[in-house]
């Protein structure tokens, strides 16, 4: 803590520490170790990472309410397994950004490659550009908001959580879907097996408004989205099929 109390009883706010890691000068391992040293604490300091140059696993494994700004493009698994952390990537991310996130916020100001938010259990992933294929594959409770469009097989086998796409979605959206909800504003190239369009009720519009606001996505009207979900025909046992087993 840099701020300290003074003798006459005036209590100064503790100054927020800003830590800068230039990956041209320190190793990725040192950065991630320093982040992990905060794990389990309520440390909420601000961190900046520079010269990432497509490196893998930048800021993966955070478990504290740290605010991390990553300046530049990153490779695979950035902010993977994030818990509580508030990570902003100012650039594009490689495959698997925020994979298996548990809580917190991961924001990508550019585009995200394939399987963004894969298997993530919680938290919010915001992609301000486009996302590639398999966005939200096997998502288990995370919310994902994409300002642009996503590639093919979005929300493949998604189990829980919400996927909001302000642009278009590629082919086989929601294939083998369980209970995740999908909202798309633009065109859907095609739905996957057992994924169907469902009516937009007022509660869904409210839910969307909240998600867009939470994601800080301005200028996108919650009206005009379509909702998609599971027809629940694929994963429920049908007694008529008993002879097949």
């Amino acid at each position: 803590m840099l701020g300290t109390g003074t003798g006459d009883g005036l209590q100064l706010e503790p100054l927020k520490q800003m830590r800068v890691f230039n990956l041209d000068e320190v190793s990725l391992r040192e950065l991630n170790q320093a982040l992990h040293d905060c794990n389990g604490s309520d440390e909420a300091s601000a961190w900046t990472v520079t010269n990432t140059k497509g490196k893998h696993a930048v800021a993966a494994g955070i478990d504290a309410p740290l605010e991390v700004t990553v300046n530049g493009h990153v490779g695979y698994y950035c902010a993977g397994m994030n818990k509580q952390g508030q990570v902003t990537i100012r650039g594009n991310t490689g495959p698997g950004v925020a994979e298996n996130m548990m809580s917190g916020l991961v924001r990508v100001t550019g585009n995200a490659s394939q399987y963004a938010g894969a298997s993530a259990h919680g938290g919010l992933l915001v992609i301000e550009g486009d996302a590639g294929s398999r966005c939200g594959i096997s998502m288990k409770g995370v919310d994902i908001v994409v300002r642009g469009s996503i590639g093919h097989m979005g929300a493949f086998m998604a189990q829980k959580g919400r996927l909001v796409i302000c642009g278009d979605a590629g082919t086989a959206l929601g294939d083998s879907l369980y209970e995740a909800r999908i909202y798309v504003k633009g065109k859907v190239a095609g739905l996957g097996a057992d994924c169907v369009e469902k009516p937009m009720a007022e509660e869904h519009e409210r839910e969307l408004e909240q998600l867009l606001e939470q994601a800080g996505i301005n200028g996108v009207d919650a009206a005009g989205f379509r909702r998609y979900g599971s027809a629940r025909k694929l994963y429920h046992f049908n007694v008529d099929n008993v002879d097949a087993y």
């Binding site: 140059k53 497509g54 493009h73 490779g75 490689g94 550019g110 490659s113 394939q114 294929s133 398999r134």
Partner: protein, 298 residues
């Protein structure tokens, strides 16, 4: 897993540094494939109607001086042989087919890496840093180049199994992925007269393109046909006389990133290989769409 890189120059500055930049891109991809390394560099057009050929000595040590003298006798008017380690570039005053027949008869221990007017292919077992040093890739100038680092999954680690694979005059292919119908396709292509030197799946993709091009398809048509006939996972980069093309399979789980500035166009398996290029942080970056042919030419 393998690493692919490609660099296409749009300015004389990049042409001068082509080899150096490609080498740095390849070294960046080392973890994606430490088994073998190869490059195809397009430079120094053979004069007139002469043919440029990259030879590889499979037995290692080879008397290139004697070979040079022999070439002068058998193919008068040819340029002098330019050896580097177990490779040598010949400039022959004859069509590639005639030289190929002669090599097969007189020097069956030699392997022809490439034929054409501009392309040279160097490939060898080992880490990118070692292989680019051995062949002096960093000192090479040229208009465009492709590189590959291999992590062998389906066949042996040898020089001949390394990429790039030549698919015709000034044409080559590098591949990240695996093909599942390569055995049947190889048998089919053999009946069509395509020669194979290994049991490698990527060589079948190269042979397939060779066949379709020979049958009269354009490269674009051949790649569209490949989407139907090749079963498996792939990101391909294809070097042509004046540029390169990129194709990903319809599932597109093998990574690919492209980037462009006023000075260059680059493709790589990962952005970190592109990050070494001058001005990369300002480049326009995108991922090639599945089942879509991208191409650049000078």
């Amino acid at each position: 897993m393998c690493g692919i890189v490609g660099l296409f120059s749009k300015s004389p500055v990049i042409e001068e540094r082509l080899g150096e930049l490609l080498a740095r891109m390849l070294i960046e991809m080392t973890e994606r494939g430490p088994d073998s390394t190869g490059v195809a560099v397009y430079r120094d057009r053979a004069p007139g109607a002469m043919t440029k050929i990259t030879l590889l000595s499979r037995e290692g040590e080879f008397d290139w001086q004697a070979m040079n003298d022999e070439i002068s006798r058998v193919f008068p008017g040819s340029g002098s042989l330019r050896p580097t380690e177990n490779h040598a570039v010949a400039t022959i005053d004859a069509p590639a087919s005639r030289f190929r027949e002669w090599v097969a008869r007189e020097h069956p221990d030699l392997y022809i890496n490439s034929t054409g007017a501009r392309m040279e292919i160097y490939k060898e077992k080992g880490l990118p840093s070692d292989v680019v040093d051995r062949f002096g890739v960093s000192g090479m100038q040229g208009t465009h180049a492709l590189g590959h680092t291999r992590m062998a999954t389906e066949s042996r680690v040898t020089t001949e199994h390394s990429h790039p694979f030549s698919t015709g005059e000034d044409l080559c292919l590098v591949h990240n992925g695996s093909l599942s119908n390569h055995n049947r396709l190889r048998e089919f292509l053999k009946k069509k007269g395509i020669d194979f030197h290994t049991d490698n799946d990527s060589e079948v993709a190269a042979g397939y393109l060779t066949w379709q091009l020979r049958e009269g398809m354009s490269l674009d048509e051949a790649l569209q046909a490949a989407l139907l006939d090749l079963d498996g996972f792939y990101t391909f980069a294809i070097g042509t006389r004046d540029g390169f093309a990129v194709l990903r399979d319809p599932i597109a789980c093998k990574p690919a990133v492209m980037a462009e500035t006023g000075d260059w166009v680059a493709m790589a398996s990962e952005y970190r290989a592109i990050a070494v290029l001058p001005g990369a942080d300002q480049a326009e970056c995108w991922e090639p769409e599945p089942a879509t042919v991208y191409s650049w030419s000078h």
